[in-house]
Amino acid sequence: MHPSSNIFKILLLAVLLLILSSSGNAGDKYREMINCDLHQGACTRNLSGSTVTLAVTPRPVKAMQDLLFQVAFSAKLPPNTKLPYIDLGMPGMKMGPNRVQLKSAGNGTYEGRGVIVRCPSGRRTWRATITVPDFGQTDFIFDVIY
C-alpha cells in the first residue's frame, strides 16, 4: 500500500475520533448570542409589531428545577388566536422537543411550568422560542446555571 494512503487513513481516523470526542465539549461558542439575562429579571423582545415579555422564576434560573414561565404581551392577541407556547432548546445542539404549554393568567399574561434539562457537555446557553400560532414567534437566548 502507498504510504500516502496510510497517512490519509490515519488522519481520517484521528479527525473522526477527535470530532466525536470534542463535539459535545467544544466550548460554549453560542454565549455571544445571549440577548437576555433571566437571572436578573424579565426580558422583552419584539413580536410581530408588538412586544412580548418573558420572566422565569425562581431566580437564578437553574437547570433540572421546576420553573414557572410567565409571558406578557403588550398588545391584545387577535381573537380566536390559539394559546401561545414556549419551545426550549439549545442553539447548535438538538436536545429533543421540550414544550411549555402556556395558559391564560388574565390581563394579557400567560404562564406555564417546565424544566430546562442539564447538558453534560457543560454548555449553558439556552433558547426559549415563544410562538403565538398564526401570529409570530421570537427567541430569548439566555444563560442557565447548572
Partner: protein
C-alpha cells in the same frame, strides 16, 4: 393534546433526529471504543445487546418518572449514581485503549511486588478480555444511566404522560413504552458510527489501530473530566 399513536411516532422520530444531531457527538466515542475493542469479532450482536440494555434502562426510568410525575425529583436522586457511571465509563474507555495499545499498566499499578495480580487488575482484565458477547447487555443497562440532555427531555414528556394518565399503571406503561420508542429511534445513528469504526482496513493496520487506542485513552480522560465537572 396528541393522540397516543402520534406521541409514539414523535418519540421515535425525536430519538432518530437526536441520534444523528446529538448522540453521535456525545455517545459516539463510546460505541466506537466498543467496536475497536472487539477487533476481529462481529460488532452486530454486542452492539444490539448494548442497545437492548440501554433501552431497557430508559424504559425503567420512563416508568419511574411516570409513576412519580416528576423528572426533577427522580433526577435529584440519581445525580451521584450518574456521576459514578460517567467516571466508570471514562475509566473503562481509557483502559480499553491501554489494553489495545498493549500498554496495560495493571501489573505495575495494581499488582503487588510478589508478582500476584490484585483483585482490581484481575477484574479489569476479565472485563476487557471477556469472550462472552453477553457482557454488553449489563454494560448497556449500566451505561443507560449516563446523564444525557435528550434523555432528560424525553423523560420530561414521560413524566407528563404519567401525570395525565387515568390510572398509575397506565401512566407507568405509557412512560416505559414512550422511552422504548425514543431509545429505538437513537439506535440507527449509533449503529452507523459503530459500523464505520468496524471497517476492515481500520482494524487490520497496526499503526491506525494504535492511534485509535491513543484517542480512546484521550476520550476516556475527557469523560472523567466531564464527570468531575458534572
Amino acid at each position: 393534546m396528541l393522540s397516543t399513536e402520534a406521541l409514539y411516532l414523535l418519540y421515535l422520530t425525536s430519538g432518530f433526529t437526536v441520534g444523528f444531531g446529538h448522540c453521535i457527538g456525545m455517545c459516539g466515542p463510546l460505541v466506537v471504543s466498543f467496536s475497536l475493542n472487539l477487533k476481529e469479532k462481529s460488532i452486530r450482536a454486542p452492539q444490539l445487546l448494548y442497545h437492548l440494555g440501554r433501552i431497557t434502562t430508559y424504559a425503567i426510568l420512563g416508568g419511574v418518572v411516570a409513576a412519580s410525575g416528576s423528572l426533577t425529583m427522580v433526577a435529584a436522586q440519581m445525580e451521584s449514581i450518574q456521576k459514578g457511571v460517567m467516571i466508570f465509563t471514562g475509566v473503562l474507555i481509557a483502559f480499553m485503549g491501554l489494553a489495545m495499545a498493549g500498554w496495560m499498566p495493571f501489573g505495575k499499578v495494581f499488582g503487588d511486588h510478589s508478582g500476584r495480580r490484585s483483585f482490581i487488575s484481575n477484574a479489569f482484565d476479565r472485563l476487557l478480555k471477556v469472550k462472552s458477547t453477553m457482557v454488553y447487555l449489563p454494560l448497556g443497562l449500566l451505561l443507560g444511566l449516563l446523564p444525557c440532555g435528550p434523555v432528560y427531555t424525553a423523560l420530561l414528556g414521560a413524566a407528563r404522560t404519567g401525570m395525565e394518565a387515568p390510572a398509575i399503571y397506565q401512566g407507568v406503561f405509557a412512560g416505559m413504552t414512550l422511552m422504548i420508542a425514543f431509545g429505538l429511534g437513537t439506535v440507527p445513528a449509533l449503529f452507523l458510527v459503530a459500523k464505520l469504526a468496524d471497517l476492515g482496513w481500520l482494524k487490520s493496520r497496526d499503526t491506525i489501530y494504535r492511534i485509535g487506542a491513543v484517542l480512546m485513552i484521550i476520550v476516556g480522560i475527557i469523560f472523567i473530566i466531564k464527570a468531575i465537572r458534572f
